[in-house]
């Protein structure tokens, strides 16, 4: 057809008009760090594995988990999940139940007998890890994956450290822990139990590097006046006995006091109930809100009938008569002082759960390793002690003492040791900007209540099975906002008035700066905050 001049035009010819030249700011896709990831002591890429779980790709989700944590099923039980505290969804309709998803997928991995893939290379280097607790095992796992030969000396009868000797069975069934440790052993890690190292000097030179992960297994001492006829026990010893001598059930009596406010105190109190005590009271010096124990643990303990007596310290224990001193606590000034009033309570036994300290005799003779005034080993930013090639982590260093932290330390130590063995210095990756709630556009998320489960079971040492079904895993995973990371919602692509976003066949998106006018709608309508507007270069 002979078309009229100028008034009749062929389709799509405006592509010649590169409107990108109008722009002064431009959008770019970014990966921001989700708060869950930021706060995860093990540095798990939670958002990523939730994304895989959403698609029912549980194996890949598990693979993503074990990039940072070799103990998903364990962590899915004992982790205090700061991820959920900081989850942006808290400000919407409740955190994603990350912990339970991790546990559920961890359980699937055990039931399906999923294994770690063997190391791709062998370095020929030998690393000694002292202590087969969560930190030591975590370090072992990563070091082995890096290709090093790993030997662990463990003083206890069984590996697991505080995961075994500090966490009661009803919270962490041993077959779960054992299965996850076995995977590490299957990877080629040599664990020698009942092998106490008395002096570091005896062993360190036989290895290319040493990781000290002996934990803090000494019960802290008190100056409370205790008469000889009193029945007291340290929580840590109680747990150890229950573990190593399951047939010898300790008799704590009908009325039990637990002294302390941490998670160990809660575990001890709940264990006491399970051992037959009719009345268990926790004595804590500050208020309930100040208890270091995790809130969910406290709630569960209260639900089981544990009483919590706050603002009290134990002054003396004389047989069954325990004298308590009433306390006053000023939260603002952190001033804690006795009111002068006292209270007498009757109890058959008292469990101490006032903390644990590091048994530092192992390094006493090693020149260069420093013990701080808090009784922990001093390390540098690469987790190396004053002695070259000797690293330390877990409860022996200054920091938070949770299983999750221990795993995180183990990972970091492994990376540092690997770098050291390669003659380098470990440099942590730069962290991306955090995707906080303000960076999200939550209009695009449908309200969908968190699927809660009740973990409380019967008062015994059996764990209640609360794991999600496959369908529930998918459903709960889908609640993830995917903070800071594109989840292919296509909002930017759909909303761009200038079609300046290319959607490739695989669903990936790319800005076409030839046409982008820089209006910023894409960034505004991105639900998860993975688009940033930046000043454009003016050419």
């Amino acid at each position: 057809m002979n078309k009229p001049f100028a008034t009749v035009l062929d389709p799509g010819t405006s592509l010649n008009n590169k409107t990108g030249s109008w722009r002064t700011i431009r959008p770019e896709y970014v990966h921001r760090l989700p708060p869950c990831n930021v706060t995860c002591p093990a540095g798990e890429n939670i958002q990523q594995w939730l994304s895989l779980a959403q698609e029912g790709r549980f194996f890949e989700a598990w693979l993503e988990m074990i990039k940072d944590n070799p103990f998903p099923a364990t962590m899915g039980r004992v982790c205090y999940h700061t991820c959920e505290t900081t989850c942006n969804r808290v400000q919407f309709d409740g955190a994603v139940n990350i912990n339970l998803i991790e546990r559920s997928i961890g359980d699937i991995a055990i039931s399906k007998n999923w294994k770690f893939s063997p190391p791709e290379k062998s370095s020929g280097k030998n690393v000694l890890i002292i202590g087969a607790g969560p930190s030591g095992l975590s370090a072992a796992y990563f070091l082995r994956k890096f290709g090093h030969n790993v030997t662990i000396y463990e003083s206890h009868k069984l590996p697991g450290g505080m995961a075994r000797y500090g966490v009661p069975k009803y919270r962490l069934p041993r077959h779960i822990l054992d299965a996850e440790i076995q995977r590490i052993i299957d990877l080629g890690v040599n664990i020698k139990c009942n092998q106490k190292v008395d002096c570091l000097n005896d062993v360190k030179d036989k290895f290319d590097a040493v990781y000290l992960a002996v934990g803090a297994s000494l019960a802290s001492q008190t100056d409370i006046e205790i008469s000889d006829d009193s029945k007291t026990v340290d929580a840590i010893d109680l747990f150890k006995n229950l573990e190593d001598y399951p047939d010898e059930v300790p008799n704590l009596g009908q009325k039990v006091l637990v002294y302390g406010g941490g998670n160990t105190a809660i575990d001890a109190a709940r264990t006491a109930l399970r051992l037959g005590a009719k009345s268990v009271k926790i004595i804590y010096r500050r208020t309930i809100n100040n208890m270091p124990a995790h809130e969910s643990e406290i709630q569960e303990a209260l639900s089981e009938g544990v009483e919590i007596h706050c603002l009290r310290t134990i002054s003396s224990i004389k047989g069954e008569k325990i004298l308590l001193a009433k306390m006053n606590y000023d939260e603002e000034t952190n001033n804690l002082f006795k009111t002068g009033e006292t209270e007498l309570v009757i109890a058959d036994s008292v469990i101490f759960a006032i903390g644990q300290s590091v048994e530092d005799s192992i390094v006493k003779n090693t020149k260069g390793i420093l013990i701080s005034n808090k009784g922990v080993i001093e390390i540098n930013k690469s987790m190396q002690t004053g002695v070259k090639g000797v690293f330390a982590g877990g409860d022996v260093i200054h920091g938070k003492r949770t299983v999750t932290h221990a795993i995180g330390y183990g990972k970091k130590a492994a990376k540092s040791i690997d770098a050291f063995l390669n003659g380098k210095e470990y440099e942590p990756n730069l962290k991306n900007e955090i995707a906080n709630f303000k960076k999200l556009n939550t209009e695009y998320y449908k309200s969908d209540k968190r699927k809660e489960v009740c973990r409380l079971g019967e008062l015994n040492f059996e764990e209640k099975d609360v794991s999600y079904s496959d369908e529930q895993i998918i459903q709960e995973s889908n609640r993830c906002f995917s903070c800071g990371n594109c989840f292919h919602c296509d909002n930017c692509y759909a909303y761009c008035p200038d079609n300046a976003i290319i959607k490739h066949e695989d669903g990936t998106l790319e800005f076409n700066y030839d046409y982008c006018k820089g209006c910023g709608i894409c960034a505004k309508e991105c639900p998860c905050g993975s688009i940033r507007m930046v000043t454009d270069d003016i050419n």
Binding site: L9, E55, D490, A494, Y495, G520, E525
Partner: protein
């Protein structure tokens, strides 16, 4: 994953706009302002119609921003058959196109489109004629509530009290204090045509659903789509979608469908917000909130929203 987003990895309840092979009826290189709501609304509407008809659409465009920014020699942004005649005659031209197709027995669906000025004012006579004859045309009005192409003058779709170049607020003058405007969807309904709907780029799922439905209906159809204009309303360009959403949420832009003159369905609002939160983001209403503003003058607009909430059963009136 959320069904409120435009697309998702699972292909569930996705929009045409999320498809990587969407037609792009209006392609890149057009000269719409940054953040133009109308450009987006037009692409969404026509793409939906295109998909539904396997590309068998023809479009008539009234004069206005959309026409000017999309088709200036030598560049044409349309990927569909398109004709522009005049400002006020798009509906009639579309009637002609439809008649041509009918006489040729071609199954091509006809769409006429224009802004609110070209529709509710100068185009009203032709529009009404097209409705009355029940010509087989889907007329889409991209409503940005003023004559934007000529520099933001008042139209009969301009919201009460809005500042425009011809309704400047000054002392006793409250911006567009003339009247409350013309409810063209209701006028369309009064013609008894088979389908009338309101839609918004704040809800593209809904918009596409309505276009997809309308395009198959024989006879005259009318869809009015709220399309915010950064320039005319005075707001940062990135807020186009946000404002469209706020207009829906406060009840000022009710989303509904009517068949044969009767409202058959309206979109209930989950959490009704005050019109204040919608108005405050726009400079055209700044005089209602500034230091010298008459106290609570904006409540007149709240009443308009409340009337919609009651009339179209959008929920319970929360803000009096």
């Amino acid at each position: 994953m959320s069904s409120l987003t435009m697309g998702n990895r699972f292909g569930r309840n996705t929009t045409v706009q999320s498809e990587n092979n969407r037609p792009n009826s209006l392609t890149s290189g057009h000269r719409a302002c940054q953040g133009c709501g109308e450009a987006l609304a037009a692409r969404c509407s026509l793409d939906a119609a295109y998909i539904e008809t396997k590309g068998n659409i023809a479009v008539v465009n009234a004069t206005g921003c959309l026409e000017v920014f999309s088709c200036a020699y030598p560049e044409n942004s349309w990927n569909i058959p398109w004709v522009h005649s005049l400002f006020g005659n798009a509906a009639a031209v579309a009637s002609g196109v439809a008649a041509a197709f009918k006489s040729q027995k071609k199954d091509i669906r006809v769409i006429a489109q224009g802004g609110d000025g070209g529709t509710t004012d100068i185009g009203m006579a032709c529009l009404s004629g097209m409705f009355e004859r029940n010509d087989d045309v889907l007329y889409i009005c991209y409503d940005n509530e003023a004559y934007m192409n000529t520099g933001v003058q008042r139209s009969s779709a301009t919201l009460t009290f809005a500042r425009t170049a011809t309704t400047l607020p000054n002392g006793q003058y409250m911006g567009n204090d003339i009247r409350t405007g013309k409810n063209v969807p209701e006028i369309a309904m009064a013609h008894g045509i088979p389908y009338v709907a309101s839609a918004s780029i704040g809800d593209i799922h809904d918009l596409e659903k309505k276009v997809k439905k309308a395009i198959h209906i024989k006879g005259a159809k009318y869809i009015q789509i709220h399309s915010p204009c950064p320039l005319g309303w005075g707001y940062p360009t990135e807020n186009t979608i946000q404002l469209a959403k706020l207009a829906i949420k406060c009840g000022l832009y009710p989303l509904f469908e009517a068949e044969n003159g009767v409202v058959v369905n309206s979109t209930a609002i989950d959490n009704i917000i005050s019109v204040e939160s919608y108005l405050k983001g726009q400079k055209r209403f700044a005089h209602l909130f500034g230091k010298n503003a008459q106290v609570n003058s904006w409540k007149v607009i709240q009443e308009l929203a409340n009337n919609h909430i009651r009339k179209y059963k959008l929920g319970e009136v929360v803000y009096e």
